[in-house]
C-alpha cells in the first residue's frame, strides 16, 4: 500500500479512502490511485484485510431458497438482528444442494467469519471448527443434528397446542398434509410423528386412523392444493387438515373453496409458520408462530459468543417458545 501511495503521490490515508470507496476524494486523485494499484498489481481485496485482522467481518447465512415466504421471513429476521449488532451478513441460497452447502461452509475463514445455517446440514458436509474459531450455528435443523450450536423452536409443544385445540373444538378425524413438524428421520414415514401421536392420545383423539398425505418435493401452495384434493378422496369423513406449513394450508384453502367444502364448518385447517398471508386469507388461517425473531436473536447470540471466544467448548442447544395463533379457519367467522 505504501508503494501505491508513493507512486500515486498521495498519502496512505488517501489510498485507504479510495480502496474503501469513501467519499470526498477528487476524481483525478481516485484515477491516479487506481492506476498505481493496477501498475503494481496490488490487490486491495478482502483477503488482504483478512490477513491483517484475521477476520472478514462478514457472516454468511445459508438458506435453501428465498422464494419460500417463511424462509424469507426468517432470513429477514436474522439480517435485522445482525444489523442491530453491527454485523454485515451475506445470504447464500443452497437449494438443498450438498455441494453448495459445502462451499458455503468451506468459505469460513476466507469469506465469512462464521455461518448461520437454516435447516438441517446434509450428511457428509464438513463442519470442522464449527464450535471453535469458524463457528456454525444451525437454526431449525431439527434433531439429531451434527455436533454444532443449534436453535430450534419447541416443535413438541407446537403439536401439543394443535392437538389440544382440535380436541377442545370437537375435531376427531384429522388428516396430516405433509409430515407434522415434530417428525424426525427415525419416525415412520407416512404417519404422524411419535410426538404428534402422543399429543393426540393425550387429547383423546384416536391416533390409529390418522392418515398423512405425504408431500414429496417443495411444500408450496400448489402442493397443498393437490394434497388437500387427495385427502378429500382418501378420507371423505375428515374434519381437520393439519398442514406442514402455511403455504400448504393456503393451497388447501383454495382447493376446499373450489370444491365447496365449508371451512371450518366441515373441515378445520391449521397451518404452521404464521405467514402474514394467513391473516388475510379467506377464512383467516389458524397457525403456529415459530417466532422467527426469537430464533434469530438466539442464533446470533450463540454465534457472537463463539466469535468472541467466550463460549464453552461443548455444543449448545437453545429451544425457543411457540405460540398457537387461533383464527377463523378453526374458530369460524366473526373473529377478526
Amino acid at each position: 500500500m505504501r508503494d501505491v501511495a508513493t507512486l500515486a503521490g498521495v498519502s496512505l490515508k488517501t489510498v485507504s479512502r479510495v480502496v474503501n470507496l469513501e467519499p470526498h476524494t477528487r476524481p483525478e486523485v481516485v484515477a491516479r490511485v487506481r492506476a498505481a494499484i493496477a501498475e503494481l498489481e496490488w490487490s486491495p481485496n478482502a483477503s488482504a484485510r483478512t490477513l491483517r485482522t484475521g477476520r472478514t467481518g462478514l457472516v454468511g447465512i445459508g438458506v435453501a431458497e428465498l422464494r419460500r415466504p417463511y424462509l424469507a421471513t426468517l432470513v429477514e429476521a436474522i439480517v435485522a438482528e445482525a444489523d442491530r449488532r453491527g454485523i454485515p451478513v451475506a445470504v447464500e441460497p443452497t437449494h438443498g444442494d450438498p455441494d453448495r452447502a459445502r462451499s458455503l461452509l468451506a468459505a469460513r475463514g476466507r469469506v465469512f467469519d462464521g455461518v448461520v445455517h437454516i435447516g438441517p446440514i446434509a450428511p457428509g458436509v464438513a463442519t470442522d471448527g464449527g464450535l471453535a474459531d469458524r463457528p456454525v450455528v444451525v437454526v431449525q435443523g431439527g434433531r439429531p443434528v451434527e455436533e454444532l450450536d443449534r436453535v430450534d423452536e419447541d416443535v413438541v409443544d407446537a403439536v401439543v397446542l394443535v392437538a389440544r385445540h382440535l380436541a377442545v373444538m370437537g375435531r376427531t378425524r384429522p388428516v396430516l398434509l405433509g409430515h407434522d413438524r415434530a417428525w424426525r428421520r427415525d419416525d415412520e414415514s407416512g404417519h404422524p410423528s411419535a410426538a404428534m401421536r402422543a399429543a393426540l392420545s393425550t387429547a383423546r383423539i384416536d391416533t390409529d386412523g390418522v392418515a398423512c398425505v405425504e408431500i414429496p418435493g417443495v411444500a408450496d401452495r400448489r402442493a397443498g392444493a393437490r394434497a388437500a384434493a387427495e385427502a378429500l378422496v382418501r378420507n371423505p369423513a375428515l374434519d381437520a387438515l393439519l398442514c406442514v406449513n402455511d403455504e400448504v394450508a393456503l393451497g388447501a384453502l383454495a382447493t376446499l373453496a373450489a370444491e365447496g367444502v365449508e371451512v371450518p364448518g366441515r373441515v378445520a385447517v391449521i397451518g404452521y409458520d404464521n405467514l402474514d398471508d394467513g391473516r388475510f386469507a379467506t377464512p383467516t388461517l389458524t397457525t403456529v408462530d415459530p417466532g422467527p425473531r426469537r430464533l434469530a436473536r438466539a442464533a446470533l447470540e450463540l454465534l457472537a459468543d463463539r466469535l468472541a471466544g467466550t463460549a464453552q467448548p461443548e455444543p449448545r442447544a437453545v429451544t425457543t417458545g411457540v405460540v398457537l395463533v387461533r383464527r377463523e379457519s378453526t374458530l369460524g367467522e366473526g373473529q377478526r
Binding site: 474503501n20 469513501e22 484515477a31 494499484i37 415466504p69 444489523d83 388475510f280
Partner: protein
C-alpha cells in the same frame, strides 16, 4: 492516447449521428438491427467502452456482487433477489444480499461502506434517486432494477405504465366505471409515477373522468395490513366504487380481505387487481388478477448491464424498458 473517444467519434465511424449512437447504447428500441450492429462495431473500434480506471482495478476483483433490496417480507423482492442470485451464479459470481430497511441503509448499501469487496451492485430501490449521487457517478458498477429510473446509472425500467394501463383498460372493458386506486403516495399527497400515468391514460381513452376521491393509500405501501386500512378508509368515506386497482399484490390481498369483512363481494360488487403477479395471487379466494412484470427479462437485463460495466464499459447510463402482461383470474371476472 491524446483524449478519450467520444460518442461523436463512434457516430463518425459508424456513419450515424452521435444521437443515434447514444440511442443504441441506451438500449432504445427504435434503432434498426443493422444500425445497432454498426454502432456496436464502432464502439469497439474507437475503444469508446474502455474505461482505463475501471480496468486498473480488475486485479482487485472479488467475484462478488451485492444485491440490495428494501425487504424480504414482500414476496416480490424475495422472488427478485432469488432470481438475481441464480442469474449471477450462472456467470460465476456470488451474491451478497443486503436488506436495507431505510433510506440511509439503502444508500450506504448501494454506494458506500456497507458493501465493500464487491465488483458491482444491483439495487432494487425504495428510496434511491439521482440526488444521492450528488451529480457524480457511482464509484463502481451500479445497476438499478425497478423503481423510478435514475438518470446517472444504468436502469431496468419495469413495464409499469404499460401494465397499469392494460389492467385499467381491462376493468373498463368489463364494465367497471369507478376504479379506486389503492396506491403508494403518502397520505395527503398527490399520486404520481408511471403506474398512475398508465391508469390516467386508460381512463382518458375511455372518456371516464378522473376523480381523486378514488385515490387512497395506507401507512406504507408494501404490507397487506396497509391495503386493509386504506380500504377501510375508502369504505368509510362513502365514495362509490366498483373496482380497486392496487399498487401491488400485497396491498390487493389486504384490500380483498377488508372488502369481505365489510360485506362487499369480490368480484360481484368490486373487482380487485394487483401488480407483480407474486406466487400467492393464484391461491387467494377469489384468485387475484395481477400485472406480471416479466421478472426473468428484468433480471437478465440487469445482470447483462452490470457485467458489461464490470468489464469496463464506460458509455453513458442506459435505460432498458421491460414489458408487462396481464394475468386475469376470478377477482376481476365480469360482475
Amino acid at each position: 492516447m491524446s483524449r478519450r473517444p467520444t460518442l461523436a467519434d463512434v457516430g463518425a465511424v459508424a456513419g450515424v449521428s452521435a444521437k443515434t449512437a447514444s440511442n443504441v447504447l441506451l438500449g432504445r428500441p427504435e434503432v434498426s438491427p443493422a444500425t445497432r450492429a454498426a454502432v456496436l462495431a464502432a464502439v469497439d473500434e474507437v475503444g469508446y467502452h474502455v474505461n482505463l480506471a475501471g480496468r486498473g482495478l480488475a486485479s482487485g476483483r472479488t467475484g462478488r456482487v451485492a444485491v440490495v433490496v428494501p425487504n424480504l417480507y414482500q414476496p416480490y423482492f424475495a422472488e427478485l433477489a432469488e432470481r438475481l442470485m441464480l442469474a449471477l451464479e450462472e456467470h460465476g459470481l456470488t451474491t451478497m444480499l443486503r436488506v436495507a430497511h431505510d433510506e440511509c441503509a439503502e444508500i450506504d448499501a448501494a454506494l458506500g461502506p456497507t458493501t465493500q469487496d464487491v465488483d458491482g451492485v444491483i439495487v432494487c430501490p425504495h428510496h434511491f434517486t439521482a440526488e444521492h449521487l450528488a451529480g457524480g457517478e457511482p464509484r463502481r458498477p451500479l445497476v438499478q432494477l425497478g423503481g423510478g429510473p435514475t438518470d446517472a446509472v444504468d436502469c431496468v425500467v419495469m413495464g409499469e405504465s404499460t401494465g397499469s394501463e392494460a389492467m385499467t383498460r381491462h376493468l373498463l372493458e368489463t364494465g367497471r366505471r369507478r376504479i379506486a386506486l389503492v396506491w403508494n403516495n403518502p397520505p395527503g399527497t398527490a399520486p404520481w409515477g408511471d403506474r398512475f400515468e398508465g391508469y390516467l391514460a386508460a381512463l382518458t381513452a375511455h372518456g371516464v373522468p378522473r376523480d381523486d376521491a378514488l385515490v387512497v393509500s395506507g401507512s406504507d405501501w408494501d404490507r397487506r395490513a396497509s391495503g386493509y386500512e386504506a380500504m377501510v378508509g375508502l369504505l368509510r368515506s362513502g365514495t362509490a366504487f366498483d373496482a380497486a386497482l392496487c399498487v401491488n399484490d400485497a396491498i390487493a390481498i389486504g384490500v380483498m380481505r377488508a372488502l369481505r369483512s365489510h360485506g362487499r363481494r369480490v368480484p360481484q360488487d368490486v373487482a380487485v387487481a394487483g401488480f407483480d403477479d407474486t406466487d400467492e395471487a393464484e391461491f387467494t379466494t377469489p384468485a387475484l388478477s395481477s400485472v406480471s412484470p416479466e421478472q426473468p427479462e428484468m433480471v437478465r437485463a440487469a445482470v447483462r448491464m452490470l457485467l458489461e460495466r464490470i468489464d469496463g464499459h464506460a458509455g453513458p447510463p442506459r435505460r432498458v424498458r421491460t414489458g408487462a402482461h396481464l394475468v386475469l383470474r376470478a377477482s376481476t371476472a365480469v360482475a
